[in-house]
Symmetry: C2
Subunit: 222 residues, 2 copies
DNA sequence: ACGTTGATTCAACGACTGTAGAATGACTTG
DNA sequence: CAAGTCATTCTACAGTCGTTGAATCAACGT
């Protein structure tokens, strides 16, 4: 329907297109309604194919889910510690600006699906945990990484899932502005000695991004 | 099991007991597996009754869910603004310490169940939103309330649902210690360096270059 | 003793699910 | 053109779900 299916296409190509279409619908449905409520039949219907075809391609609903939520996070590159918080913030901002479909599928399913929960955990660990842990180290580092991860996922959940009043339509920049002191205070080692707020404005937002990310975004044909 | 069911009990009393037992199991299952995966049959089995009885009492699964997750939050009392953040923190700490069963049921179901999501939203709005909104007011207040709510729910989700490494076993006090500057920086009006700054407290703003940070150890626990 | 009420169970229906295997039909290769 | 391959569909099964209406059994007022 999207592409004219009147003239012949190479088989492999056609299969790839169909798979891609199925994955797109699956991601969409998983992100909207979570794992349980997303039925293979609905995915198939959305993709305009037979449910059995989805099974034939992905083997099981579980596999389809795994393929749909596969996220390949580019890791937050290591760099000077002072910019650590800003780098994490930039990462979060990028997620708040981009289309959160894949992330949403993860978030929405992470509570009922162990595989999704582990994926979220791994992603957070890679993004926040490892970096912060390396920078700070020890048990305190782990705790700080956890708090950082919690704040990150909290903002995502609040904005996209819960759609909290002041968050769902807010400008990511403003959110970042509010979050920056928080992240800094958690990352900074010596922040726990001083109870007062430290509005560290040492760095403007690292708009250039830490590293070139030649990531191409797959768009859905619609 | 607690009371011997060998001798007769008044009808109303017995019904009440059964209802209470059903609700307990329902809450437990909803919190463990969420709305969809919790079946009326499982609840009935857990309570030692027939599934039809659950239906007879609560009318539908939807109603049972509503009755199970009903939360009566005591509102955060109004008070001096300076302590606002601390009051919210205390609230969160109390939740982190207490048994989170009811909250968990909410959290775990809020993603797939609109009713649960609305309940969470209402609770957050009451606890964070309204108070902070009143204290700050306007659109900025709404945003700050949203961020505050996001952080709160993020910590809950990270600790109980995601069970993040550094968070699940952490001492609530330590989490609070890390969160306090964050909450303060979000609540405080002048945290974003307003022109008409009204320093309710000493605000040094020492953003001078701390590049020569004492770098004693860069410990890295394996 | 009675009949009545209400708590509780039994058995079953209809809908929906994930999944499997045979069948169809278009594209490819000889 | 014939045979083969592969994407795709059709049909169906076995299971589970929420829900229902009739049936059971104990407690109650008379």
């Amino acid at each position: 329907m999207t592409t004219t299916d009147a003239f012949p296409v190479a088989k492999g190509e056609r299969r790839h297109q169909t798979e891609e279409r199925i994955l797109g619908v699956a991601r969409e449905l998983f992100s909207e309604t979570g794992y349980d409520r997303t039925t293979i039949r609905a995915v198939a219907a959305g993709a305009g194919v037979d449910p059995a075809l989805v099974m034939h391609y992905f083997g099981s609903k579980e596999n389809l889910f795994g393929a749909a939520i596969r996220v390949d996070m580019e890791d937050v590159v290591v760099g000077p510690e002072e910019e650590l918080a800003d780098r994490l913030l930039a990462k979060l901002e990028q997620k708040l600006e981009g289309e959160p479909e894949a992330q949403l599928a993860l978030l929405r399913s992470m509570l009922t699906h162990d595989q999704a929960a582990e994926a979220v955990r791994a992603a957070l660990r890679r993004e926040c945990g490892q970096v912060v842990g390396n920078a700070i180290g020890g048990e305190a580092g782990s705790l700080r990484a956890g708090v950082l991860s919690a704040m990150t996922v909290g903002v995502m959940v609040g904005r996209y899932l819960l759609q909290l009043e002041g968050l769902k339509d807010a400008d990511p920049k403003e959110i970042m502005e509010l979050l920056r002191p928080c992240f800094h205070s958690v990352v900074d080692r010596d922040a726990e000695t001083r109870k007062t707020v430290r509005p560290s404005r040492s760095k403007p937002a690292p708009e250039a991004g830490p590293k070139a990310r030649p990531r191409s975004k797959r768009g859905r044909a619609g």
